[in-house]
Amino acid sequence: MLCIECGGCSATCTTGNFTRFSLRELQILIKRGENATVRDNINKCMLCGKCTLVCPRGVNTRNVVMLAREAFQKNLIHAV
């Protein structure tokens, strides 16, 4: 809701330096409901925190990653 999709997070991302991992892309995918790609990619985050520091809207992006991971955890456990 707060995100304006400026891309600052992805620009500074440590993982983004080495792979195609882009937080902005993942965030858009979540909004669209395409969880499969997100689930495979969200684990590449190193939780370093630069994205949160850079965000102009003060979104706690690091926590978003953690919550997404937890949600996927729970989902998978229930599925089995």
């Binding site: 330096n17 080495f18 689930r39 590449k44 939780l47 370093c48 925190g49 630069k50 706690n60």
Partner: protein, 558 residues
């Protein structure tokens, strides 16, 4: 207060036992003979040695009652005894507390009534007894008060293992274990359990916590974490909502290792269900932690092979320094000016040191990053690793198993100054130094940054020096608070730091620098920046690239 109650009670027990020994019919007596001595020997203590001993017992009782008075005041109006807030209690704690508070007043009244009835007793019980006997039928009234004394004593001891008063016997074990050098490790164990039960819920950690006084968050402090662990509650939320600044750890009067215990709880998200069976609460199973079964594993297989250049000294900037480029540039200037053979090993981004993952409880994932970085550092053949970020410094020192010298940039700069490799001028500015949590309380480095600052500026003292320093609020360890809360914490810390109106606020951590600069008008500068500003020779002694000095690629550096 605690001393009067606890020590006084110990004296009462000790001298009471001796009393029963000396004046009783036998030397070894059942405990009740000592506890209810005046009841069983109402005629005792009129004159001579007996009266003198009675004086001693009365004195100790008065001592205890003074402590009790302070305890009651603390519970209802904690500001009077110096604490801003005291611990909130659960129902069972309150019942135990009430029975504890009843013990000594009922003993006083019981002994007084008996003394009044028989004309014995010393300055306290005797005088009170005389007054009471003139109004009430003392002999009859003594009996119910003796019962009250007995019941409150019994209730207290029966409830003790279920409440925070368990700290009384547990602390005995804690002292001996700690003096043998035992410390808490990475997993829960007997010692961490002893520490968990040793918490008396005094509330000093709550007072010290910045989340409490700056943000009004009052359910996550260490006393509550330990209470939650003892009551087998799910403490995941509480464990993660903490700045890990270490202030509570340094202020705990019992010396419980609060930070390691919280880290253990962060590594697992699930704890057991509270027991409904009361028998289980007296004989609980060992506090177990079920580690989270990761269905999806983080994977860092995409990390590239590292091919670093070889050098004597490597500079590792770390994620946060990359976000504060002035620090990076200053460090490069300093390193160039010093003539040291160095390599800026993560100049194009680099991989995170791994500590943020560890703070989130994900040690196994962090290990992959650590392996990558360790390999890179080893391949470079360096003997010294310098980093400008205290978070990275701490993890390099504690979790990387490198056999090279690891230095924080303040230590490195101090070394350069001591060896005369840097020519520095003097900046005529007043500077206040903020000790970063991870560098100060986290790694024990207090003096080197201050020495470096004294060398180039006028360093002021603040109200929060060294171990008392306040957290900036930027902590990576807390993922639950919002940026508004962090700003409040930063604001409160700044109002203490800038009380002396310094020109510059110096710090040794890029995250602190970023957090503070968002919240103040004063210039915030890293130590590296100030030293770089003070460099006298601005042109650079180039990184000596003589074939003689460069490490040959074939040399065997182990």
């Amino acid at each position: 207060m605690h001393m009067s109650l606890a020590f006084g009670w110990f004296l009462l027990i000790f001298f009471g036992t001796v009393e029963a020994d000396i004046f009783g019919t036998r030397h070894l007596n059942a405990p009740y003979k000592a506890i209810f001595f005046r009841f069983f020997n109402p005629d005792h203590g009129r004159a001579g040695f007996e009266a003198a001993y009675g004086f001693l017992m009365d004195l100790i009782l008065a001592f205890i009652l003074s402590g009790l008075l302070l305890a009651v005041i603390k519970r209802f109006s904690s500001g009077v005894v110096g604490l801003k807030k005291t611990t909130r209690l659960k129902t069972l704690d309150k019942i135990a507390l009430a029975s504890l508070w009843l013990i000594f007043p009922s003993r006083l009244l019981a002994e007084s009534f008996t003394s009044g009835a028989y004309g014995t007793g010393s300055f306290l019980t005797g005088s009170l007894g005389t007054i009471l006997a003139s109004v009430f039928p003392a002999k009859e009234m003594a009996y119910p008060f003796w019962w009250l004394y007995s019941l409150s004593l019994g209730t207290f001891f029966i409830l003790l293992p279920l409440t925070r008063y368990m700290h009384i016997p547990t602390e005995l074990f804690l002292i001996f274990a700690r003096n043998s050098g035992i410390r808490t490790g990475d997993q829960v164990g007997a010692f961490s359990e002893i520490e968990t039960y040793s918490c008396s819920s005094c509330g000093i950690c709550i007072d010290a916590c910045q989340l409490n006084f700056s943000a009004g968050i009052t359910n996550i402090q260490s006393a509550y974490l330990l209470k939650g662990i003892r009551n087998h509650e799910n403490v995941g939320e509480i464990a993660h909502n903490c700045l890990m600044c270490g202030r509570c750890d340094s202020k705990c009067p019992v010396g419980i290792e609060l930070t390691p215990i919280r880290m253990i709880r962060r590594r697992a998200e699930v704890t057991e269900v509270p027991y409904s069976n009361i028998w289980k609460r007296y004989f609980p199973d060992r506090l177990k932690i079920i580690p989270t079964k990761h269905v999806i594993r983080e994977d860092y297989k995409w990390l590239p092979q590292a091919e670093p250049a070889r050098a004597d000294v490597i500079f590792f900037a770390g994620c946060m320094t990359h976000l504060t480029p002035s620090i990076k540039k200053s460090m490069v200037r300093i390193l160039d000016a010093s003539g040291v053979n160095y390599n800026f090993i993560d100049s194009d981004g680099g991989v995170c040191c791994g500590r943020p993952l560890m703070l989130a409880g994900q040690d196994k994932e962090a290990r992959e990053l650590i392996n990558f970085n360790s390999q890179m550092i080893r391949k470079s053949g360096a003997r010294t690793l310098v980093t400008s970020c205290p978070i990275c410094y701490k993890v390099f020192k504690e979790s990387y198993y490198l056999d090279i010298e690891i230095l924080h940039h303040s230590q490195f700069i101090k070394m350069l100054i001591d060896e005369g490799q840097l020519k520095l001028g003097f900046l005529r500015k007043n500077v206040a130094y903020h000790t970063p949590c991870e560098l100060g309380r986290g790694s024990g480095i207090y003096e080197e940054p201050k020495e470096v600052l004294k060398y180039v500026t006028r360093l002021q003292k603040t109200d929060c020096d060294d171990e008392n320093s306040l957290c900036c609020g930027g902590s990576l360890a807390n993922m639950k608070i919002s940026s508004q809360v962090r700003k409040r914490i930063a604001g409160d810390a700044l109002s203490v730091l800038t009380k002396g109106n310094p020109d510059i606020l110096a710090t040794a951590c890029p995250l602190c620098k970023k957090t503070f600069s968002h919240a103040t008008e004063t210039r915030v500068a890293d130590i590296a920046e100030l030293v770089a500003d003070a460099l006298v020779i601005p042109h650079l002694k180039k990184n000596l690239s003589d074939a003689m000095v460069q490490i040959p690629a074939t040399a065997d550096i182990g």
